[in-house]
């Protein structure tokens, strides 16, 4: 095995889940403020997944989605991907821009709608990383969000390719955001680069070697 993920202990996975919880909790609050409504979040899942399993998490490789992607630089480089099913993304645009329900659809998305979604990605990433930073003392700098609208598999594969040289698996922290009972808003993924995981775990005092 080339991946260093397999040797994670139960404790380390729980710690990662807890960071996910706090990061995503703050992000959910930020999202709630943006749409002026209550946003619930799932208990974060931590998973070490084969590339082929990743698309299944988001409804299959050919599900129509919007992906907002940011690279995270700094002491522990990582990748952030916020994936939203197309119809949910359109509903989110309506909420963000105060349009009547069901105004926005896949065919009439404007540049303004897309930048609103990009901004959501930006704010969610920022709140998440700020929480992670205050927890670990590590500094993070993140890129401008990039956007893709397409099949989930296609949106994810260039990100998975970043991990492909090292192995066939990726460590995912996944959180679902939900608005009231109306269903899923989106999936938030944090994908630490190989090597970053050890740095984050060390900063939290649950290092593999300590």
């Amino acid at each position: 095995m080339n991946d260093d993920y397999y040797s994670l202990t139960r404790l380390q996975l729980d710690v990662l889940k807890e960071i996910g919880n706090i990061g995503a909790g703050n992000a959910a609050t930020a999202l709630a403020q943006m749409i002026n409504d209550k946003v619930d979040m799932s208990i974060p899942e931590v998973g070490i997944l084969a590339f082929n399993e990743v698309a299944e998490l988001v409804g299959g490789a050919d599900a129509h989605v919007i992906g907002i992607y940011l690279t995270v630089e700094g002491e522990a480089p990582a990748n952030i991907l916020f994936l939203i099913a197309m119809d949910r993304a359109c509903a989110l645009v309506d909420m963000l821009l105060g349009k009547p329900e069901n105004t926005t659809n896949a065919a009439n998305l404007t540049e303004l709608d897309l930048s609103a979604l990009q901004e959501v990605g930006n704010i969610i990433a920022a709140t998440y990383l700020n929480a992670l930073s205050s927890f670990t003392g590590l500094k993070f700098v993140w890129s401008v969000p990039a956007l893709a609208i397409d099949m989930a598999g296609a949106v994810m594969d260039s990100i998975l390719a970043l991990f492909g040289v090292m192995g066939d698996h990726v460590l995912l922290l996944k959180t679902e955001f939900k608005k009231n009972q109306t269903g899923l808003v989106g999936n938030f993924f944090l994908l630490p680069n190989v090597g970053s995981l050890e740095i984050i775990l060390s900063a939290l005092g649950v290092s593999k070697n300590g």
Binding site: N2, F51, N52, A55, G60, A61, D62, H64, G67, Y69, T71, A106, S143, V144, P145, A146, L147, A148, I149, D150, M151, A152, G153, A154, V155, M156, D157, S158, I159, L160, A161, L162, G164, V165, M166, D168
Partner: protein, 161 residues
Amino acid sequence: MDNVLHVGIADMKIATPPLLLMTTGLGSCIGICFRDESKKIACLVHIMLPSCEHAKGSFNKAKFADSGIIFALSELEKKGVIISKLTAKIAGGAQMFKSPAENDIMKIGYRNAVAVEEHLKKHNIRLLAKDVGGNFGRTIVFDPANGALNIKTIGHGERMI
């Protein structure tokens, strides 16, 4: 769709009629379809990266353009295929994310396409058709019976090459 063999990411499968070979949601990845016209035998490899040179230890050969092509050819040879009779069609290699910041992930599709063509040439495999690049995903179905490669997209039409 009982007659469809699904090829995953970094995966390779060989099929003969009436089976079809399918791979879903190609973004920067590339689907390389090989076929022997006389034997009606086909192979689909779904590669993610251009080169295995930085891979460590024992790695999945189907993941890289260079090793994936060699792997496919050797598996086809085991089925009695003569490599010089093979032809190829390729699809994928898109740049999915629009971003002002240029980085590696933005160019991976292009690099994949260049590597695939280069290695097909190196092994003297004739490239019959290609549908690469752009900024959209592709779901492809390859028919070993007639060599038709069907390409579906979201918002960029459907075509047969």
